[in-house]
């Protein structure tokens, strides 16, 4: 190959190159220069210009510095907080509030439901993490704490002139935080109180020990007070509202047996005039299928399967189109409903919750599914049958069921308990009867029917609650709430149930401690302050 073929320089250039090479080589023979050059390169590159090149910030994520600048930001954080609430309660509502009670029996072939219904919970069992871990609860609390800290700043700076909205959001954060602590307290007893500051750095204190019940109660009630003073009085169903705050407050006072305070809350709730008993069975069904429009809904948790990674856990736990459910309704409870539908009587809650075409027997029948949350379709084709009609179940991972957290009947039936506590039995029974009549059951409870009204009326209220809130995560807490310090009512109901279940552990002796849930093992690994403080008789 000839030089000229690829030579693109002029002759002058060439001469300069040659000349340069000569001087260059001469220079390099001088070691001092080499060192000088080396130092320049080494230090130069090391200490200038590079820092900018190396500072990279997340491209597809916001940061605390870039966020909290507008009302939209505040809206988005609120949605993120409710998203955590969804994660917490999608199966938590039933797992914590009902699964271990006499309402459910184990169904399907998993091991989780067997352990739950036989009272053999274990702290370190992967199958049970969903029940024993409080991680999701604290994640929700953390998001509330972030929201409270930064929304307060936004109010301070009057961002977008929306301070009223931000105040309402703060009210919601307080309310949700109270709800989370209340769940935690009911499930595990003493729980850590993490304070108001969100964790934003490892240099903050990230370890908290379990606080006494009194402190937990104080935090819950303080939060509720802050909630009530901030939250907007709008009547809304899918967001925490003033009504929800009063409902929760009632529930908290009932739990701690402060009946007068509970009654005051109920009065405030009633004074809002938002909530009323539904009028008939069709409306009753809509509490579950269309909670948004129901007068009984106080707070329901919204779920949409495409947005919420498969949606709520109702299908998984109570019945789905694609799988057997984890739990089915206890035969004795089903039998109560069957009996209420005999001799010309009807309690439509039977038909509205169960497939009475298949399960119309007078015998105790093991129900495989509960259709409470799904509409009934008369035209639905039944496989292998000439009869039509059925619940429109949703697949496990495509469940749109909205979960009721509080509704009017709940609060009213708590009021019935308050009347009962005061000996105003008839007033208590009136509420029970109102609940019955709206679903077509006109067999009314009369005081005269009870030979021993002191226990009979309570049983009557509890049975009504059991039927009314079947599949809503109330029964387990109810059993504890109405019991005295020796868990009298709880033992009365649960001891025979456990004795009848094979392979189960009773709640007697040291196993009475099992009324609380075990704290999940990994919590101890990550937090040394918890060690040695497991709920007994569970091991860490």
């Amino acid at each position: 190959m000839k030089q000229a073929d690829i030579h693109i320089f002029t002759n002058e250039d060439k001469n300069r190159i040659c000349k340069f090479h000569a001087t260059f080589l001469k220079q390099f023979s001088d070691m001092k220069n080499i060192i000088k050059i080396a130092t320049i390169i080494f230090c130069g590159v090391a200490f200038s210009g590079c820092e900018d090149f190396l500072s990279r910030n997340p491209i597809s994520a916001a940061s605390p510095e870039t966020f909290w600048k507008s009302k939209e930001d505040a809206d988005l954080w609120l949605a993120g907080t409710y998203d955590a609430l969804q994660t917490t309660l999608r199966t938590g509502v039933l797992d914590w509030g009902e699964a271990r009670s006499d309402n459910f029996v184990s169904n399907g072939v998993g091991t989780m439901q067997v352990k739950v219904t036989t009272n053999t919970l274990v702290a370190g069992d992967a199958d049970l993490v969903v029940l024993t871990s409080w991680k999701n609860i604290y994640t929700t609390i953390a998001r509330c704490n972030f929201g409270l800290k930064y929304t307060a700043k936004m109010i301070e700076n009057n961002v977008d002139g929306n301070s009223e909205t931000y105040k309402d959001y703060m009210g919601q954060y307080y309310g949700l935080r109270a709800l989370m602590y209340f769940y935690a307290t009911r499930v595990w007893g003493r729980v850590p109180i993490v304070g108001n500051d969100p964790i934003e750095s490892l240099s903050q204190n990230i370890y908290f020990e379990r606080s006494p019940i009194d402190s937990c109660k104080k935090v819950i009630l303080n939060d509720l007070d802050s909630c009530i003073s901030n939250i907007s009085p709008t009547n809304r169903k899918y967001y925490f509202s003033l009504g929800a705050a009063y409902a929760l407050k009632t529930d908290v006072h009932m739990w701690f047996k402060e009946y007068d305070l509970a009654e005051q809350s109920i009065q405030k709730l009633e004074a809002l005039n938002y909530y009323k008993w539904v009028l008939n069975s069709a409306e009753w069904k809509k509490i579950f299928t269309e909670p948004d429009g129901s007068t009984e809904t106080i707070f329901s948790l919204y779920f949409e399967q495409l947005q919420d990674n498969g949606g709520s856990g109702i299908a998984q736990r109570l019945g789905s189109s694609s799988n057997t459910s984890t739990f089915s309704i206890a035969p004795d409870l089903f039998q109560i409903l069957v009996n209420r539908n005999r001799n010309g009587n009807i309690d439509t809650r039977w038909q509205l919750c169960f497939d009475t075409i298949t399960y119309n027997s007078t015998q105790s029948t093991l129900q495989d599914k509960c259709g409470k949350y799904y509409p009934w379709d008369d035209k639905l084709v039944r496989t292998g049958e000439s009869r039509t009609g059925g619940f429109v179940y949703e697949p496990v991972n495509m469940c749109n069921a909205k979960i009721p957290i509080y509704r009017y009947a709940d609060i009213e039936l708590l009021k019935a308990e308050i009347y009962y506590r005061r000996g105003e039995y008839q007033k208590a029974l009136n509420i029970v009867n109102t609940a019955r009549m709206r679903v077509g059951y006109y067999v009314l409870a009369k005081l005269a029917d009870f030979t021993n009204p002191d226990s009979g009326v309570l049983d009557c209220i509890m049975e009504e609650r059991r039927i009314e809130f079947l599949g809503e995560g109330k029964r387990w807490f109810d059993l504890i709430e109405v019991s005295d310090v020796s868990y009298d009512y709880f033992h009365k109901i649960m001891d025979p149930v456990m004795a009848a279940r094979s392979g189960s552990v009773s709640y007697t002796g040291e196993n009475e401690g099992r009324i609380l849930f075990p704290i999940e093992s990994t919590a101890f690994a990550a937090n040394p302050l918890l060690r040695g403080d497991q709920n007994l008789p569970y091991s860490e």
């Binding site: 300069r16 260059f24 080589l25 050059i37 590079c50 491209i59 916001a62 998203d83 053999t120």
Partner: protein, 1075 residues
């Protein structure tokens, strides 16, 4: 522009680097700057130094290997005392100007120099291999090369011949067993499955950090499975810190340098290879047939949901007998065509290659198609400038089957369930049991990947001592995955189809420059070399995805067909990452006898907090060639060469997420009531994050006996890692799940031995054998006290990473009464039952036998109180597992088996591994075969557990389990009573499911025949050979799953066999021809 001022350039070096950085960062300056820069070099005036003297005479001839008769290409040929010389070309031919009486010197790497006095004008020169001179072979050592002889650290080189012998699909496959200290494990037999590789154990806790750094032709890459193994010239593995510290922050797990082939000067040479192979499932697992399933149903009918099924003609869905493994698998076929074209002139050499690879897997509907191309050009216009261009591209298409839904489900499905209804639709869901064949065929998971990488490098010889190197490299990677699940696979009512498409677009740009000074002083007794350089790197990743349900048509499976978008699947994001490194290396040797090597690197990474961005990585190493000392003269006949090496260095690890040091608010998947919410990232940012630091010391010994007949390399190392990058679990109460922290310490110690020998070397026959032995002991030395169990593994101080943890299985209680223990719960008592005259145990009306007395294990009668053990408070019965209890601090056990009775059960990492490879040559025949083995590790057989746990009523256990589940009091059997679940007998962390994972495998065997060159010439070819080969033909192991080679890519959770794509046994034929 136009004029090249080297001085100015060097003084503006800083600016240059910053500008590069600027460009990479802001993309303000166009790429033309770089290309212009390259062209400048290319355009540098040519200077021909060769003096032209008119030939008086011309000597022609051929140079070849005296043993193999192979032509030697590229032999240096100089006429002594004259300025003439040449290089032998293709077929070893040369032509040089020389006169009769001149002495011509032939020299070639790895061969003894030969001098010949010219007598005739035709010379045929046979050269002899020189084992000592093999040390002259140049190996890549990072930012430059060094002679193998001068290595002071621990570097292993694997050359093209060794890679070729294995007929492997990818580079990592070829490296398995090829070098000590390098552990390659391939977790499955799926087409295109990536292997995992570890060098000298694991020195970090995070899975992303264990892979070595891969450097291909000077460019950093993340994966090398798209490189055609036939393109590879050599692979260098930098094992110890003194070798790899020059790569600083990412070299803690070793560095693998891959060099692709260069062109050879000469006429174009075309090589063509065609390979075809057939493969089959190498090991079929026992599976229950219909009869066994029915036996199971009859015996286990009290299990909830398990009912006896009809098997007469009215039973539509339950009246067949499937052998699922037979139905799912097929004979896999591999077709491979390789073409390469090489040639060129002294100035310009090229190597082009093209490979088409097509494999259908042994599981239907799994396949891989790959097209790989490469263009390597070396241009040496003059003695000053040398440029190299390396361009590689590949297109890979692959369909993967869902192993969990196909293989795992198939092993559990009822054998009598039908697969298709009479109308031809698949019987997808019978009693919750999915149809694995429908899953296999109807689920689409296709990935198309396009990859382009290039590197442009320029080396400038700045006089006799200085060489300046600069390069620009880039890599563009587009990966698109399409998933689609047909309606037929839906259990929803009404049925829905679903799918998604995701794209990843990765770009990488980098530039590296270094200046090397090389000089020998004082009659070449002192050799000094120094290198100073920098590298700037920039990564960008874009991800986007689209997904939803209810596709308009099942024929169209792209996003436009989706009628209902899933907002959580419709997302995209972008990330970046950058690094800057400055490095300095010095080498000194005295008479090649005393060698010293030192490096220092300073690295900055964008991943760390602003305060800890930069880290220092020094190393020092030395070697002593003691056979050069006078005292060694006497043994030099036996010990031809001996070198003692020692090295120490600090290396780093920066493999965490790109923004893990920062607090982030994320969004996209957190909807509530139609509002897409924002949440804090579950990983809390840690601005104090810094490098993970590994300090490694290495002592090595290289010995060569009998002029190279026996070679031995021994290395011992200790690797201490501190400030481990660890994804620490935060207290759940904090609201965050994790934070990356620098945490704890870990140690690896190991010994590596490589022994290679040529036991037989005759004219026609030779045998070369190599043994590699590696052992590594890993221990977590410090964990700041947070020992914990993670699933079935233990993470704790004093234990290795990935130790299995759980309950120790000790057998099954025969009777309820067998649960009888002494008062301290330490000794299991033996009940003595009342028996009839025939010796049968009498069962009373209460359905229980009556116990006469209890015996101690030694046969003596026990009189003390008899205690029963409980598990989690429930009294154990006959048919329950006997678990070992762990004694507390005072040596007591409490009689209740609970989570505190878990213990470390075995190791997930092999204690040692090794290989034995052989090559035998007889005339034109050659045979090579190699064995590979892992020893001392346990495998958790999850498939066996799935089978034994009877998770679902429809799942069918293996025949062994069917026959051996505990069914009646008194039965002696290894398996529990499946009807009673209260004691949680089928727990996951049961040592019963741990098996010995040791194995020896006949990894590859190849038999070849090379055609006689004279014969070949007649048909116009220059070379031709034919090979028969087999891979994975035999495995010796006690493991009962598909294959004992399970993925080792999880540091803390190794050795779990989830039922991956099974291994294959492959036979093939390959024909190679050269034109």
């Amino acid at each position: 522009m136009g004029f090249f001022d080297t001085r100015k350039f060097l003084f503006n070096y800083k600016n240059y680097q910053v500008k590069l950085a600027d460009m990479l960062l802001n993309k303000k300056i166009s790429c033309f700057l770089f290309w212009g820069f390259i062209i400048m070099f290319w355009g540098t005036p040519m200077q021909t130094f060769a003096q032209k003297t008119m030939p008086v005479n011309k000597v022609m001839g051929r140079v070849y290997d005296e043993n193999q008769n192979d032509p030697l290409i590229g032999v240096n040929i100089i006429v002594k005392g004259k300025p003439t010389g040449t290089v032998s070309g293709l077929n070893g031919t040369f032509s040089v100007s020389a006169e009769i009486g001149d002495v011509i010197k032939f020299s070639y790497i790895g061969y003894k120099d030969k001098e010949i006095k010219v007598a005739t004008s035709v010379l045929n020169v046979a050269m002899t291999e020189n084992a000592l001179k093999l040390g002259e072979v140049v190996v890549e050592a990072g930012y430059g090369t060094m002679k193998k002889r001068d290595i002071t650290g621990s570097i292993v080189s694997v050359n093209e011949k060794e890679i070729e012998k294995k007929m492997s699909v990818n580079v990592l496959d070829a490296l398995q067993g090829a070098a000590s200290g390098v552990q390659v494990s391939n977790a499955s037999g799926a087409p295109g499955e990536e292997s995992s590789i570890r060098i000298r154990g694991t020195s970090t806790l995070s899975d992303d950090g264990v892979a070595p750094l891969f450097i291909v032709d000077g460019m950093t890459v993340d994966r090398i499975d798209d490189i055609n193994p036939n393109d590879i010239q050599s692979v260098e593995v930098l094992k110890d810190a003194s070798s790899s510290a020059i790569y600083g922050s990412r070299s803690a797990n070793g560095v693998i340098i891959i060099t692709t082939k260069k062109g050879n000067a000469g006429k174009p040479k075309l090589d063509a290879k065609y390979l075809r192979s057939y493969s089959q499932l190498s090991h079929k697992l026992p599976q229950a047939n219909s009869l066994e399933r029915r036996i199971f149903e009859n015996r286990i009918y009290t299990l909830p949901g398990v009912t006896k099924t009809l098997n007469d003609s009215t039973a539509l869905t339950t009246n067949t007998d499937n052998d699922y493994q037979d139905i799912l698998t097929q004979t896999g076929v591999r077709n491979q065509l390789d073409l390469s074209l090489t040639g060129g002139t002294r100035e310009l050499k090229y190597f082009n290659s093209l490979q088409y690879y097509d494999e259908t897997g042994i599981v239907r509907n799994s396949w891989l198609k790959r097209l790989t191309g490469r263009v390597n050009i070396d241009y040496v216009p003059n003695k000053i400038v040398k440029t190299a261009t390396r361009i590689g591209f590949s297109k890979t298409s692959r369909n993967e089957i869902n192993e969990g839904m196909v293989l795992v489900k198939a092993l559990l499905r009822n054998p009598y369930f039908i697969l298709t209804f009479p109308d031809g639709t698949p019987a997808y869901d019978i009693a919750g049991q999915k149809n694995p064949i429908a899953e296999e065929i109807l689920r689409k998971n296709e990935t198309n990947q396009y990859n382009l990488n290039f590197i442009e490098e320029v080396n400038v010889n700045l006089g006799s001592c200085f060489i300046f190197h600069t390069d620009v490299s880039g890599k563009f990677d587009l990966k698109r995955n399409e998933k689609f699940n047909s309606k037929l696979l839906s259990t929803a009512k009404p049925k829905v189809n679903s799918g998604s498409e995701t794209s990843y677009w990765n770009t990488y740009l980098s530039t590296t420059s270094y200046l090397t000074f090389k000089r020998k002083f004082n009659k070449k007794t002192h050799a000094v070399e120094a290198t100073l350089g920098t590298s700037v790197e920039d990564w960008n990743t874009i991800f986007s995805s689209l997904g939803g349900i209810n596709y308009v048509s099942e024929v169209v499976t792209t996003g436009n067909s989706i009628s209902e978008l899933d907002p959580t699947l419709c997302t995209s994001n972008k990330e970046d990452h950058s690094m800057i490194g400055i490095f300095l290396r010095g080498r000194y040797s005295y008479k090649d006898r005393y060698l010293i090597n030192g490096t220092i690197r300073r690295d900055g990474s964008s991943r760390f907090g602003a305060n800890n961005r930069w880290g220092w990585f020094p190393s020092v190493s030395g070697a002593w060639r003691f056979t050069d000392e006078s005292f060694a003269n006497e043994i030099s006949k036996v010990l031809s060469d001996g070198k003692l090496r020692f090295g120490w260095g600090v290396t780093g690890n920066e493999r965490i997420g790109n923004y893990d040091s920062q607090n982030q608010y994320i969004f996209g998947d957190y909807y509530y009531n139609d509002v897409s919410g924002v949440i804090p990232n579950t990983t809390l940012g840690n601005p104090n994050l810094k490098w993970e630091e590994t300090r490694q010391s290495n002592v090595g010994l290289d010995l060569m006996f009998l002029d190279g007949r026996i070679n031995m390399v021994v290395d011992y190392y200790i690797k201490n890692t501190k400030d481990l990058l660890y994804l620490t679990s935060l207290p759940q109460e904090s609201g965050f799940t994790y934070a990356w922290t620098n945490f704890g310490a870990m140690q690896n110690k190991g010994l590596e031995i490589t022994l290679s020998a040529t036991p037989v070397k005759m004219n026609d026959f030779s045998w070369l054998t190599t043994i590699n032995y590696s052992q590594n002991k890993n221990v977590i030395t410090d964990l700041a006290g947070v020992n914990r169990a993670d699933d079935i593994w233990w993470i704790g101080e004093g234990y290795e990473a990935g130790a299995f943890y759980g309950y120790k299985y000790q057998g099954i209680y025969q009777y309820d009464e067998s649960n009888a223990w002494t008062e301290d719960f330490k000794t299991n008592l033996i009940p003595v039952f009342q028996k009839d005259a025939q010796g049968n145990v009498i069962i009373g009306k209460d359905r229980k036998p009556s116990v006469l007395e209890y015996l101690l294990p030694d046969g003596s009668s026990y009189t003390g109180a008899v205690k029963s053990k409980t598990t989690n408070g429930i009294v154990c019965k006959g048919g329950d597992v006997i678990w070992e209890e762990v004694a507390d601090k005072n040596g007591n056990v409490d009689g209740d088996v609970n989570s505190e009775d878990r213990q470390v059960l075995g190791s997930g990492q092999p204690k040692w591994y090794g290989s034995w490879s052989n090559t035998l040559t007889y005339k034109n025949f050659n045979l090579s075969f190699s064995f590979y083995g892992n020893f001392g590790n346990m495998i958790y057989n999850e498939m066996n557990r799935n089978s034994a746990a009877l998770i679902s009523s429809g799942s069918t256990p293996t025949p062994f389990i069917v026959y051996n589940l505990w069914k009646y009091p008194g039965q002696i059997t290894p398996l529990y009573n499946a009807n009673d679940r209260s004691a949680n007998n089928a727990r996951t962390d049961d040592s019963y499911f741990l098996e010995d994972g040791s194995f020896i495998r006949l990894q590859s065997i190849r038999f070849g025949y090379t055609m006689d060159s004279e014969l070949i010439k007649k048909v116009g070819l220059t070379a031709a050979s034919i090979y028969l080969y087999g891979n994975g033909l035999a495995t010796w192991t006690n493991y009962t799953g598909y294959d004992p080679e399970v993925a080792q890519n999880s540091v803390l959770k190794p050795g779990k066999d989830k039922g991956r794509y099974p291994r294959k046994r492959e036979f093939g034929l390959s024909i190679n021809v050269s034109l």
